[in-house]
Amino acid sequence: MFSPYKFEIESLNAWFGSKHVLKNINMKIKEKAVTAVIGPSGCGKTTFIRCLNRMHEIVPGAKVSGRVLFNGMDIYNEDVDPVQIRRKMGMVFQKPNPFPMMSIYDNAAAGLKLNGIRDKEKLDSVVERSLKLAILWDEVKDDLNKSGASLSGGQQQRLCIARALAVEPEVMLMDEPCSALDPIATAKIETLIRMLAEDYTVVIVTHNMQQAARVSDFTAFLYLGELIEFGSTKEIFENPRSELTEKYITGEFG
């Protein structure tokens, strides 16, 4: 069954303990495009993206209901192993989190090693390819044995992107990847996101509306756990249907 959608989310609800953080979300995320999720703090956008690779449930007391179809298959089905799902998706977090006790090389190769790949040649080529994809290769190619922690913040974040890309995921999930970075590093990551969209499905959570406007093809606006509006980025920013969206985008609150 062919579907242009990578994710089809059907009546997704999520809780932390008794706190209802996502309320009946229905959304379809298109393949090989960038979908941005925006909204004020606490609106559930991070929870939303963490429901897509079953990271939400690792927090004690967290609960999910509803369906998330990934390539037409429900990832919340009982038979599905969340570990296998996560291997198909790369995730980048708010704060760069490279493994400080590993070298740059080993950071980039970490995912492959988890998959049991030990072949040196294969590892070499994948490390080089993913560091190039993450536009980091030229900066680190002579220091591959240095600690991942020796890099600057922006470089660390690109290393994390390379680490996620190395396992050839189908999807890149990015949770405010630039929130801890300076403008120059942010610009580099944004360029990278646009490039990635040619081959990958990218979902990016961002606090920064300009960033959503710059990098995304589709935008979802979440408010207090509800999906207020979802559509092409152009539409959302130029001609929002909901008054709430308009207020948020024009900076009246948030």
């Binding site: 996560r86 490279p98 493994f99 006790m101 995912g111 680490r163 996620a164």
Partner: protein
């Protein structure tokens, strides 16, 4: 006018503050600083006094035997009055090594279980009990060793062990119950509370972002836990050293179960042996002449330096691996 620019106001203010600190030393702040510094420097005094007293007390033996004391293998207070501690050093190091070999893996598992796996309330209860174990006096461990552990090991464990591994010399020979392995086991039990409590703390201190990075890469729970250990390795080394420190210096319990037999090397793990702390505890009351007492004090001096060397080495390792993590820890 040389320059039209005034110095920025905040720098000016700062100067005033710095100035004040030096001009008005007798504020409460300064008095407290002095008090704290005094007590802190008492540490140096105590340590210095300890070394001084140990060296002074062991003068007789130091002058008589010199380096022979360290490499000598004879301990004969009764007839020839010759003292050498090499067997005791070996006994201390080997029993401590056995303790680490057995105790550290168990402790790390306890630490991981508490920080990564256990539900909060359950983990809290276990932590409390583990820490309670550290408060049990060592003579109690020794008594328990004599009355419970030794019969249990002799009747249920050692015979099997010998049956399976008897072809290795280490596991051959007569089984008394007490001995090197029993000593190592009791030390292992005694270091578990310390090592597991500290390793739980260092594992808990690993930022969650590290766990999430592993999980998002598709790591299993165990692979994530391995990464936690690796991130916390300097702390883990610190925990192990604390355990080693306790094992090396432990006196009562080991004295009660190791058999206290002075020999260069035991014939097997089941044979009796001796440690530095045990011989001091056992023979101090019997030391009837100056050289004997002096030799025992020198054993204390050697023990002190062995512990010192272990701690310095450990510090170096911890510093080295901390350097790696610092880049991330800065956040």
């Amino acid at each position: 006018m040389k320059s039209s620019r005034k110095p920025p106001v905040f720098i000016h203010n700062l100067n005033v503050k710095v100035h004040k600190i030096f001009k008005k030393p007798l504020t409460g702040d300064y008095a407290f600083k002095l008090l704290a510094a005094t007590f802190a420097s008492i540490i140096f005094l105590i340590l210095g006094l300890m070394i001084y007293e140990l060296i002074k007390g062991s003068q007789l033996s130091l002058q008589r035997f010199g380096i022979e004391f360290l490499i000598g293998t004879k301990w004969d207070p009764a007839i020839s009055q010759v003292f050498g501690v090499l067997p005791l050093i070996l006994g201390t190091l080997v029993t401590s090594a056995i303790a680490l070999l057995i105790g550290v893996p168990i402790s790390l598992c306890i630490g991981l279980a508490l920080s990564e796996y256990a539900p909060k309330r359950f983990g809290f209860a276990i932590s409390f009990l583990v820490e309670l174990l550290a408060a049990v006096p060592s003579v109690i461990y020794g008594l328990w060793g004599i009355f419970t552990l030794i019969p249990f090991l002799r009747n249920n464990v050692y015979a099997y062990l010998q049956g399976i591994l008897g072809f290795i010399p280490l596991f051959s020979g007569p089984i008394y119950g007490g001995g090197v392995l029993t000593g190592g086991i009791i030390l292992a039990i005694m270091i578990i509370p310390t090592v597991s409590a500290v390793s739980r703390d260092v594992f808990s201190a690993v930022p969650n972002t590290q766990r999430e990075a592993m999980i998002s890469l598709g790591a299993t729970k165990w692979e994530t836990a391995k990464n936690v250990i690796s991130y916390a390795r300097s702390g883990v080394i610190g925990a192990i050293i604390l355990g080693l420190g306790r094992a090396v210096g432990e006196t009562m319990a080991i004295t009660m179960v190791i058999g206290n037999k002075f020999q260069l090397l035991p014939s097997s793990l089941f044979d009796a042996w001796y440690t530095m702390s045990a011989i001091i505890a056992n023979e101090f009351t019997e030391a009837t002449y100056g050289l004997y007492v002096s030799a025992l004090i020198e054993v204390g001096l050697v023990l002190f330096f062995v512990a010192l060397i272990i701690n310095v080495l450990a510090r170096l390792v911890v510093w080295r691996s901390l350097k790696l993590v610092r880049g991330i820890a800065r956040e």
